[in-house]
Amino acid sequence: MIELTENPLEPATLLAKAQSPDAGAVVLFLGITRRMTGDRETLCLQYEAYQAMAVKELERLKNEACERWSLTACAISHRLGAVPLGEASVAIVVASAHRGEAFAAGQWLIDTLKECVPIWKQEQWADGKTEWVHPKGNDEARITNDK
């Protein structure tokens, strides 16, 4: 299952769907809005997507993961809009007969999602500034707003 949603993610539902008598291992990854980045404090993250393409890319990643590893289930859910501290922006669930494949697929899926899928986060810092996160691009162009 692939999903983009503005609602809080429901990992328990994803886990329940992935659990089956064929799956000896179910791995869940949650990406969480963290308070501190170095010595800067985050209040909230805001996520935006090119939705049609993000869904297509997530489907592509899921299909590739299913080709590379023998999975019995694979689900990716990404939240959009505001994601408060301590809440999940992304949930990935993979299941396989043995744990090695589920761990490997889960690691690959989150690493590749972060490189390829057209979704962006905006930091809302505690000092009142906001900043779109563009790895590489941001080194030269910091898209910062003082509010």
């Binding site: 990406g31 996520y47 935006e48 997507a49 090119y50 049609a52 393409m53 993000a54 297509k56 990404h78 922006s89 992304v90 989150i110 999602l113 972060k114 490189e115 390829c116 899928v117 057209p118 979704i119 962006w120 986060k121 905006q122 779109w132 996160v133 563009h134 790895p135 590489k136 691009g137 941001n138 030269e140 162009a141 898209i143 707003n145």
Partner: protein
């Protein structure tokens, strides 16, 4: 031909619009689009240098020709997850 380029995140914020219109020759490639975009919007230069472009929601490279009436998007470095 006239093309419309969708903008997202920092690119959208720098330009202040969700898409921009550009006039391109019929045989234009993504590389030319990248040049024309930064000429028309110099504020995008450093971000556009690192950006990918997508045609019909599929990543393409600088050599890809741009079909007429295609959906084109500028994809600045992504930060999902």
């Amino acid at each position: 031909m006239r093309v419309y380029v969708k903008l997202f995140a920092g690119a959208r914020e720098l330009v202040g619009q969700e898409s921009v219109a550009l006039e391109l020759p019929a045989s234009a490639t993504v590389g030319l689009l990248r040049e024309r975009l930064t000429e028309a919007h110099p504020e995008l230069r450093s971000l556009a240098n690192h950006a990918m472009f997508a045609i019909e929601a599929t990543y393409c490279d600088n050599e890809t020709p741009i079909p007429e009436n295609a959906e084109i998007a500028c994809i600045p470095p992504v930060s999902g997850g």
